[in-house]
C-alpha cells in the first residue's frame, strides 16, 4: 500500500529496503534509516509489519519515526488492532486517515480525538446504518477542538455515567549477573487513563512521593508549570483512552525485584545433551502474590529439542526461533515452580552460555 505526498516516487525504492531486510537476521536488525542514492528510507517495525517512509531531503529522523509510530497508534485505536489483514480490509479509512494526518509531508492532525471527529471509526453498527441511510463516516464540519487551545479534547462530550479509570503499569528491567546479584535495575512506569467525563473536566492528580520519579514525560494536556512548581498533575483530559504520563525510576534508586531465579544449565558437547534446572522464587513481595510469570530463554542455535518436566505451568520450545517459553502462572510460596530436564543438542557445536530473560507481569 502506498500513498504519496509531494511528488510520486516509484515503488522500486523499496527494493533497497528489501535488500536490507534480506541481509538482516531478524526484523529488528534492520536499521531504521537507510540511505539510498536519492532517497532516505525511514522505517518502523510494529506488529510484524514494516511502515516505511521515503523522504528526499533533510528531516529529523526521529520526527519521521515518531510520526510513523503515531500512525500505527492511530490505526490501533481505530481498528483495535493493527494487522496486515485489517489494514487491507479498511484501506479506504486508512487512506483517509493518512490524508488527514499528513499534508505535504508535514503532520496535520494527529490527535485521535480530532481524527475521530473527522473520520468516524468503523464499526458494524455504523456500517449498516451508513448503507441504509447513505451517510458516510466522514464528518463535514471541522471539529471544534482543532481550533481551541486544547486540541486534544473534543467538545460536547456527554456521558450518563461519568467515570475515570487510571491504570498504573510498572515494568522492572534488571540485568542480573551469573551469581544472582543485580547489575542494574530500573523501573519504567506508565499511567494510562480511560476518561469518560462530560464537558470540560479539569483534573488534578497528586502523588504521595513525587520525588521518587527520576524523569517523567507527559501527554501534552498536562500543565508543565503546575508540575514544576507543585508536583501536581493538572490537566484537561482527552476523551477516551490515552497515556497520561510515563516515568522512569533510574538505576540510582534501589529497585526491588520481585522474583529470583535459581538456575543450573549445562550444555555438554557429547551426544547426551545438556541439563537444565531452574527454580523460581518470590522475593520481597510484601505479601502480594506474583502472577502471570513467564520465563523466556533464547537457546543457542545448536539446541535441537528440549525434554523438560515442570511442576507448574507449561513450557513450549520453538525449534525454529530456539526460544524456550515457560508459562509459570502464579508463584506459590510453599511449592516453588521448577523446570528440569534434558536438552538435546546438535553434536559438534560448541556450548554457549544462555541468557535467560524474564518477563514478569
Amino acid at each position: 500500500m502506498e500513498k504519496h505526498w509531494k511528488s510520486v516516487i516509484s515503488r522500486s525504492v523499496c527494493d533497497y529496503f528489501f535488500d536490507h531486510q534480506r541481509k538482516a537476521s531478524s526484523p529488528e536488525d534492520i536499521p531504521p534509516v537507510i540511505a539510498t542514492p536519492h532517497h532516505y528510507l525511514i522505517s518502523v517495525y510494529r506488529s510484524s509489519m514494516f511502515f516505511v517512509a521515503v523522504c528526499t531531503t533533510e528531516v529529523a529522523p526521529l520526527f519521521v519515526v515518531e510520526f510513523l509510530h503515531r500512525v500505527v497508534d492511530t490505526f490501533e485505536d481505530y481498528f483495535s488492532e493493527c494487522t496486515e489483514s485489517i489494514i487491507k480490509e479498511h484501506y479506504v479509512v486508512v487512506y483517509e486517515l493518512l490524508d488527514e494526518m499528513l499534508d505535504n509531508g508535514f503532520p496535520l492532525a494527529t490527535e485521535s480525538n480530532i481524527l475521530k471527529e473527522l473520520i468516524k471509526p468503523p464499526n458494524i453498527l455504523r456500517t449498516i446504518a451508513n448503507t441504509v441511510t447513505g451517510k458516510s463516516n466522514v464528518s463535514s464540519t471541522l471539529p471544534s477542538g482543532q481550533l481551541s487551545n486544547i486540541p486534544w479534547r473534543r467538545t460536547g462530550v456527554k456521558y450518563t455515567n461519568n467515570e475515570a479509570y487510571f491504570d498504573m503499569i510498572e515494568e522492572v528491567d534488571a540485568i542480573i549477573d551469573k551469581s544472582g546479584s543485580t547489575v542494574c535495575a530500573e523501573i519504567q512506569g506508565y499511567i494510562d487513563c480511560c476518561i469518560k467525563l462530560s464537558g470540560m473536566p479539569d483534573l488534578s492528580l497528586s502523588f504521595v512521593n513525587p520525588r521518587l520519579f527520576d524523569d517523567v514525560s507527559f501527554h501534552p494536556c498536562v500543565r508543565f508549570k503546575r508540575w514544576e512548581s507543585e508536583r501536581v498533575l493538572s490537566f484537561i483530559p482527552p476523551d477516551g483512552n490515552f497515556r497520561l504520563m510515563s516515568y522512569h525510576i533510574g538505576s540510582q534508586s534501589i529497585v526491588a525485584i520481585p522474583v529470583y531465579v535459581r538456575h543450573s544449565l549445562c550444555l555438554r558437547e557429547s551426544g547426551s545433551g545438556g541439563r537444565l534446572d531452574i527454580t523460581l522464587g518470590p522475593k520481597q513481595t510484601l505479601g502480594r502474590t506474583i502472577e502471570n510469570v513467564v520465563l523466556e530463554i533464547p537457546m543457542p542455535k545448536s539446541v535441537l529439542n528440549c525434554g523438560l518436566v515442570t511442576n507448574q505451568g507449561k513450557y513450549t520450545f520453538d525449534p525454529v526461533s530456539k526460544l524456550l517459553v515457560w508459562e509459570v502462572g502464579r508463584i506459590d510460596v510453599t511449592k516453588l515452580p521448577n523446570i528440569r530436564g534434558t536438552i538435546s543438542l546438535q553434536s559438534g557445536s560448541p556450548p554457549v552460555e544462555a541468557n535467560p530473560s524474564i518477563n514478569v507481569s
Binding site: A35, V59, D103, T110, D215, F218
Partner: protein
C-alpha cells in the same frame, strides 16, 4: 473486494459516453454491483468500464463504492489514470466522502493529466469561498497539491486570501500550501515570502508551527523575518503542537547560533578535553571555575533556553531530542547536562527511537563524557536488544569509560564476550581493546583477559582478540614476549585471515624479541603461501622482508622464495608489492654494481618505529552536523541540510527582536541600522580631540576603568556592525549597557537640538532597557496609541540629523548610576517614536533650554497601601513612588506596586479595571498579572499622570472575571514634580519672574539647631523630588523642579539666617502646588 459486473458494462460501454445525460437504467446498475456476476475473465482495456459506469450513476453509494475501489487500486500502486475524466467529474459531488476520495485521486494523478485537471479548478475556486472552514481548507489543500504549473497564479491568489482568513485552520492550510507552491514554481518566492511574513506574525498556536515549517522550506536564509517573532515563538512554544515544536526548535537553534554569542567562549576548548581524556577530571574543575565567571547570556538567549526546557518532558521523542540538540548546540556548558536524563528516558521507547537517540548520545558522549556518566548503567546491554542497538551501547560505554568506571564496564564487557551474537562479541572485544588503550591503569588487566580469550573455542572470538592484542602490543611491546610467542603458536590453529595477518605482522615487527620463532613461522607460511588469503600473503611478504633484513643468514633464501611465489600470483596487488620489495631488498646487482641507495636504507624503511594506533570513536567526526538531524545519523550531508552556523563573535543587534506591532513603527525599523552606522561618525561631535578611529577602542577602556563623573564621560558606542576589534570585553560591556542609565549632561547646551537629544536619549534607553525587561513581559500586547505617534513633533521628522546621535548619547553619559532614575518600562512601549511631550509643553521648555531633567537624588522608601488585604480577600497592594519618569510618557509619575497574596487561593488575572478619563488624568496600566499564588508577591509599575493636581486618582483593580475593587492612589505634592538642573543665574532669573502671587514664603525656627546643611537637604529631598542647584552662597539652599504635566517651574530656596531660623521660599506658577509644597516642607523641617 473486487466485484466487477462485466455483463452490464460490456453492453453499455458502446452507448454510454462520459457526458451521457441519460442515467443508466436501474437494472443495469443492480447487475453492476452484483458480485456474483463475476468478472475475472474480462480483458484489461475494458476492466474499468464498470467503474466508470458506477461513477456516472446518480447514486452516491455507487459512486462511493467505485471511488473506494479506485482508491484501492491507487493504494496498491496500480495504474488508474485512465479513469481520470470519470473521476474528475465527481469533484462536484455533494457527498463529502466521495468528494474526499476524489480529492485524493486528483492529487495523485493531476500531474499526469494536466488538461483534464484544469476542469476541476473552478470547483475549488468556488469551494474556497465556502462558509464551512473545513471545506475552504480542504479545497486549498487539494488545489495547492495539484502540481500543474498553469494554475500557479490561481493558487497564489488562493493562498493570499487564505492567509488572511478568519479561521486559523484555513490559515494553517495556507502555510502548508506555501512550500507546495514554491516547489512548483520557484519564481514565486518573493511573493510567497510576503505572505509568509504575515503568517509568521500570527499569534495562533495552530498557525505558528506550520508557518515556521513553511519558512524552513521556502526561505531558511531569511533569518531577519524571525527577529520580530522570536519572543512570541518562545512564549508560544509550549502550546504549539508537537510537530510544530520540533520544527520551531530546530529553526531557533539555527537562529540562536547566528544571533547570540557563544556562551562557552571563555571555557576551555572542548576539543582539548577530548584530546586528553586522562586529565578529564582536572579539566572539569577548571571548567567549573570558568563557568562561574562565564559571561551572562543575552536575555533572549536565556528566554529561548528557558521556554524550551519544559518540553524535555514531552511524550514525543522528536521534541525531546530537538530540545536536547538545542541545548547541545547553544546552551552554556553548565546547563547542557540537564537534557541527559530525558535522553536516557527515550531509551525505553521503541527500537527505532532508541537507535536514533543512541546515535546522538554516542556522538555527544565523545565530547561530553560527564553528561552521561551518571547514567552509565542505562547503557548496559540487554539480551533482548537488537544487534545494532547493542553495538551503539558498546560504543557509548567505551566512550564513557574513565578510571573510576572502567572496572564495572570491563566486567560487563566480559559477560558480553560470552554472548552468541558474533558481531556483538567482536565489538565487545574491540571495546575492551579501546578501554585498555585509553585508560593506562587497566591495560595490563585487559591484555591478560584478551590473552585468555585466545584459548576460547570460538574461532571468531580468538581472531578478534588477536587483532585487538596486536593493536595493544604496539603501544608497549617490550614487556610482552610471552604473548608474542603464544600468538605465534596460534598461527597453526587460527584460520581467520585477519587474525593470521595480524600475527604475522607482529612477528615481523618484533622479530628480534623472538629470534628463534619468527624464521620458523616464516618457513611454515612459505609452505602454505599459495593457499592463503591475499591479506595474509601480503603480511607473509612483509614478514619475509623484515626477517631478511634482521636475520639474513637464516631467511634470505626463504624471502627470495616467497617473493618468487608472489611474482606469479593472480592478484596484481601482490605482484606489484613483490616487485617493489624485491628491488629494494635484492637490487639487481648486475646492472648497478652495488647496493643502491634505497637498499642501504631498507632497514630504516621497514623497521622504522611505528606509532601505535589510537582507537577512536567513529562518532567523533559527526560534530559537524546538527545533532538529531538526518545528516547526523547517516554521517553524510543529506539533501537540503542546513548547516549550523558558527556562533558569531559578536552578537548582532538585539534590538531587532523588539516587538513593535504598530505598522507605522515597523516601517521605521530600518532607521535603527542607519542610526548605528552613522553614530560613529557623529561621535566626533562629542569627543573633541580624538580621531574617530581611535575613539571607540579608547572609550572601551576608559568606560571600564574610570567611573568618575567628568563632564562628559564617554563610553564606547560599541557599534557591533562597524567595530571589528570588539572583543569579549566589549561584548560584556554591551550586556551591561541596558542596566546603565542615562544621566543628563550637566554642561548646558544652547542649541535647539537639545530637546531632541533628550527625547531621543530616553527613547533609546528605553529600548535597551526593554531588552532586559521584556523577557518577562514581552508577551504583553503593545499598545502604542496611534494618536500619540502622530503627535510626535514634526521637528523630529524634519531633523533626521539629530536621530543618529541617540544611541551615542545614551552611551556617552552612562555612568554614576542612580537607581531611582532607571526608567521603568512596559516593554512594548519603548518604541522610539513614543512621544515624550506634548507640543504645548515643548514651547514652554524651549523658552528655557537650559533646564534639564535631573535624576532624583533620593528615592523615598515610604510605601502606602493601595488595596487592603481585608477588603480584597487576600490581595494586598502597596505602592511607592520611584521618582523615575515613566516610559510611556514623561508626564507620568511611576509608582512601583507590590502585590502580595495573603489569601489561601491563587489569584488570577489581576489587572486595572475602569480608569478615570476626565481632567487630564490618565493611567498607564501595570502589566496584567496572570496568576499570583498564595504567599507570593510580585512587583508591577503603574504610570499616572496627575495633571498637576494632588487629588487622589480613583480607579479599579480587577481580579479574575468577577472581582472588582475601587482604589484611590494618593500622591504627595512632592511627587508631582520632577527634579531639574539649572545654573544659579538662571535660577535667580526665573525666581525674579515668579514673584507676587506665585511666591510663598514661610518662616520657621528649628527645634534643635541645625549645623549641617546636608541633613537639611536630605530632609527636603525625601519629601519632594527636587534638584539641587549649585550654590555660591553658603547660607542658602536652592532647589528646582518642574511639574510633571505642564512643566511649570518650581523653585525652592531656603535661607538660614542663623542655625535656628529658616526662611523657605517657594516660587511656582501653579499657586496651589506652591502653597502645598511649602506646607509640606515646613512640616518636614519642623520635625
Amino acid at each position: 473486494m473486487y466485484a466487477p459486473g462485466v455483463n452490464s458494462s460490456t453492453t453499455l460501454s458502446s452507448s454510454s459516453s462520459y457526458n451521457n445525460d441519460r442515467p443508466p437504467s436501474a437494472e443495469a446498475v443492480e447487475v453492476a454491483t452484483d458480485p456474483a456476476s463475476g468478472g475475472f475473465f474480462n480483458s484489461d482495456y475494458k476492466k474499468h468500464d464498470d467503474l466508470k459506469q458506477m461513477l456516472d450513476s446518480n447514486k452516491d453509494n455507487l459512486k462511493l463504492e467505485a471511488m473506494k475501489r479506485i482508491i484501492g487500486m491507487v493504494a496498491k500502486g496500480r495504474e488508474a489514470s485512465d479513469l481520470f475524466p470519470a473521476v474528475v467529474k465527481n469533484v462536484v459531488s455533494k457527498n463529502i466522502e466521495v468528494k474526499k476520495l476524489v480529492y485524493v485521486y486528483l492529487v495523485r494523478y493531476a500531474e499526469e493529466q494536466q488538461d483534464l485537471a484544469l476542469l476541476s479548478i473552478s470547483t475549488f475556486q468556488r469551494a474556497l469561498k465556502d462558509p464551512n472552514q473545513l471545506i475552504r481548507a480542504s479545497a486549498l489543500r487539494v488545489l495547492s497539491s495539484i502540481r500543474v504549473t498553469m494554475i500557479v497564479p490561481i493558487v497564489m491568489l488562493a493562498i493570499k486570501d487564505a492567509a488572511a482568513d478568519m479561521s486559523p485552520y484555513v490559515r494553517k492550510t495556507a502555510a502548508h500550501a506555501i512550500p507546495k507552491l514554491y516547489s512548483l514554481d520557484q519564481d514565486q518566492k518573493e511573493e510567497l515570502i510576503q505572505v509568509l511574513e504575515k503568517l509568521l506574525y500570527d499569534k495562533t498556536t495552530l498557525v505558528v508551527g506550520s508557518a515556521v515549517m513553511a519558512f524552513e522550506e521556502v526561505c531558511p536564509e531569511r533569518i531577519d523575518l524571525i527577529h520580530k517573532n522570536f519572543r512570541k515563538l518562545c512564549s508560544l512554544l509550549v502550546d504549539v503542537d508537537e510537530w510544530g515544536q520540533v520544527v520551531i526548535i530546530n529553526m531557533l537553534t539555527r537562529y540562536a547560533r547566528s544571533q547570540f554569542t557563544d556562551p562557552n567562549l571563555q571555557d576551555v576548548d572542548e576539543d582539548e578535553e577530548s584530546k586528553r581524556p586522562f586529565y578529564e577530571d582536572e579539566n572539569e574543575v577548571e571548567e567549573e571555575q570558568q563557568e562561574k565567571r562565564a559571561p551572562t547570556l543575552d536575555p533572549d538567549h536565556r528566554l529561548l533556553l528557558r521556554s524550551a526546557k519544559p518540553l524535555l518532558q514531552s511524550r514525543n521523542a522528536a521534541v525531546v531530542l530537538s530540545v536536547a540538540q538545542l541545548y547541545h548546540h547553544t546552551a552554556p556548558r553548565s546547563e547542557v547536562h540537564q537534557v541527559a536524563k530525558a535522553m536516557i528516558r527515550l531509551l525505553r521507547s521503541h527500537r527505532e527511537v532508541q537507535d536514533i537517540v543512541l546515535t546522538s548520545i554516542a556522538a555527544t558522549a565523545t565530547r561530553r563524557k560527564v553528561m552521561f556518566e551518571p547514567f552509565l548503567k542505562s547503557f548496559f546491554v540487554r539480551s533482548s536488544d537488537a544487534t545494532h542497538i547493542k553495538l551503539l551501547k558498546l560504543e557509548i560505554l567505551t566512550s564513557l569509560a574513565t578510571e573510576s568506571s572502567v572496572g564495572i564496564i570491563l566486567r560487563e564487557l566480559q559477560t558480553y564476550v560470552a554472548a552468541h551474537d558474533p558481531p556483538f562479541v567482536a565489538a565487545a572485544i574491540q571495546a575492551i581493546g579501546r578501554c585498555a588503550s585509553n585508560i593506562k591503569e587497566v591495560t595490563d588487566t585487559c591484555l591478560n583477559g584478551l590473552v585468555s580469550l585466545l584459548s576460547n573455542k570460538d574461532q571468531a572470538v580468538v581472531a578478534e582478540s588477536v587483532v585487538v592484542i596486536k593493536k595493544l602490543l604496539q603501544t608497549q611491546p617490550s614487556a610482552h614476549r610471552e604473548i608474542i610467542i603464544q600468538m605465534a603458536k596460534l598461527v597453526d590453529s587460527v584460520t581467520v585471515p585477519q587474525a593470521r595477518a595480524s600475527i604475522l605482522w607482529l612477528l615481523g615487527e618484533y622479530s628480534e624479541r623472538v629470534p628463534k620463532i619468527a624464521p620458523d613461522v616464516l618457513r611454515k607460511m612459505a609452505k602454505t603461501f599459495t593457499s592463503e588469503e591475499d591479506i595474509v600473503k601480503l603480511q607473509v611478504m612483509t614478514l619475509a622482508v623484515k626477517l631478511c633484513l634482521t636475520n639474513p643468514k637464516q631467511t634470505k633464501l626463504l624471502c627470495q622464495y616467497v617473493l618468487q611465489l608472489a611474482k606469479y600470483d593472480q592478484n596484481y596487488d601482490l605482484r606489484d608489492r613483490a616487485r617493489f620489495l624485491r628491488h629494494i631488498i635484492f637490487p639487481a646487482d648486475a646492472e648497478s654494481g652495488g647496493p643502491t641507495r634505497l637498499s642501504k636504507q631498507a632497514k630504516k624503511i621497514f623497521l622504522a618505529p611505528k606509532p601505535a594506533p589510537v582507537p577512536e570513536s567513529h562518532f567523533k567526526d559527526r560534530e559537524q552536523f546538527q545533532l538529531g538531524s538526518l545528516s547526523h545519523y547517516i554521517n553524510t550531508k543529506a539533501n537540503g541540510y542546513q548547516e549550523l552556523p558558527p556562533f558569531p563573535l559578536e552578537a548582532p543587534d538585539p534590538k531587532a527582536r523588539d516587538v513593535e506591532t504598530e505598522p507605522q513603527v515597523m516601517e521605521q525599523a530600518p532607521l535603527f541600522t542607519a542610526k548605528k552606522v552613522s553614530s560613529k561618525k557623529d561621535s566626533t561631535f562629542y569627543s573633541d580631540t580624538e580621531s574617530p578611529e581611535d575613539e571607540s577602542e579608547e572609550d572601551e577602556n576608559s568606560s571600564d576603568e574610570d567611573d568618575d563623573d567628568d563632564e562628559e564621560e564617554e563610553a564606547s558606542s560599541s557599534d557591533k556592525d562597524d567595530d571589528d576589534n570588539e572583543d569579549e570585553e566589549s561584548s560584556g560591556l554591551e550586556e551591561k549597557l541596558p542596566i546603565k542609565v542615562v544621566k543628563s549632561t550637566a554642561k548646558p547646551k544652547s542649541d535647539e537640538e537639545e530637546e531632541e537629544d533628550e527625547s531621543d536619549e530616553e527613547d533609546s534607553s528605553s529600548e535597551s532597557v526593554s531588552d532586559s525587561d521584556s523577557e518577562d513581559e514581552s508577551s504583553e500586547p503593545s499598545s502604542v496609541p496611534k494618536k500619540q505617534v502622530r503627535n510626535a513633533k514634526p521637528a523630529k521628522e524634519s531633523t533626521p540629523v539629530a536621530k543618529p546621535k541617540s544611541n551615542l548619547d545614551l552611551l556617552l553619559d552612562l555612568d554614576d548610576v542612580s537607581p531611582a532614575f532607571t526608567p521603568i518600562m512596559t516593554p512594548s512601549l519603548g518604541g522610539f517614536l513614543t512621544p515624550m511631550s506634548t507640543p504645548s509643553s515643548q514651547v514652554k521648555t524651549q523658552l528655557f533650554p537650559d533646564i534639564q531633567p535631573a535624576s532624583a537624588v533620593i528615592s523615598p522608601n515610604t510605601t502606602s497601601e493601595l488595596l487592603n488585604k481585608i477588603n480584597s480577600n487576600g490581595l494586598e497592594i502597596k505602592y511607592r513612588f520611584t521618582r523615575s519618569p515613566h516610559l510611556y510618557s514623561p508626564s507620568m509619575a511611576s509608582a512601583e506596586l507590590t502585590f502580595h497574596n495573603h489569601g489561601p487561593d491563587e489569584l488570577t488575572d489581576i489587572r486595572v479595571g475602569e480608569k478615570p478619563t476626565s481632567g487630564g488624568v490618565s493611567i498607564h496600566d501595570f502589566a496584567p498579572i496572570p496568576s499570583l499564588s498564595p504567599g507570593s508577591s510580585l512587583m508591577g509599575t503603574i504610570g499616572v499622570d496627575f495633571a498637576d493636581s494632588t487629588q487622589p486618582v480613583n480607579f479599579e483593580i480587577k481580579i479574575g472575571s468577577d472581582r472588582t475593587y475601587p482604589v484611590a492612589l494618593k500622591v504627595p505634592v512632592g511627587e508631582v514634580i520632577r527634579a531639574v538642573a539649572m545654573s544659579e543665574e538662571l535660577f535667580l532669573k526665573q525666581q525674579g519672574g515668579l514673584r507676587g502671587m506665585n511666591e510663598n514664603t514661610a518662616k520657621l525656627s528649628l527645634t534643635k539647631p541645625c549645623t549641617d546643611l546636608k541633613s537639611l537637604t536630605n530632609k527636603i529631598l525625601t519629601v519632594a523630588n527636587l534638584g539641587v542647584i549649585p550654590n555660591s552662597d553658603s547660607s542658602t539652599l536652592r532647589f528646582a523642579a518642574q511639574t510633571l504635566s505642564s512643566k511649570s517651574t518650581v523653585l525652592v530656596s531656603l535661607l538660614s539666617s542663623d542655625n535656628q531660623n529658616l526662611t523657605i521660599t517657594v516660587n511656582c506658577e501653579k499657586m496651589v502646588i506652591g502653597s502645598m509644597l511649602i506646607t509640606q516642607l515646613k512640616a518636614c523641617l519642623a520635625d
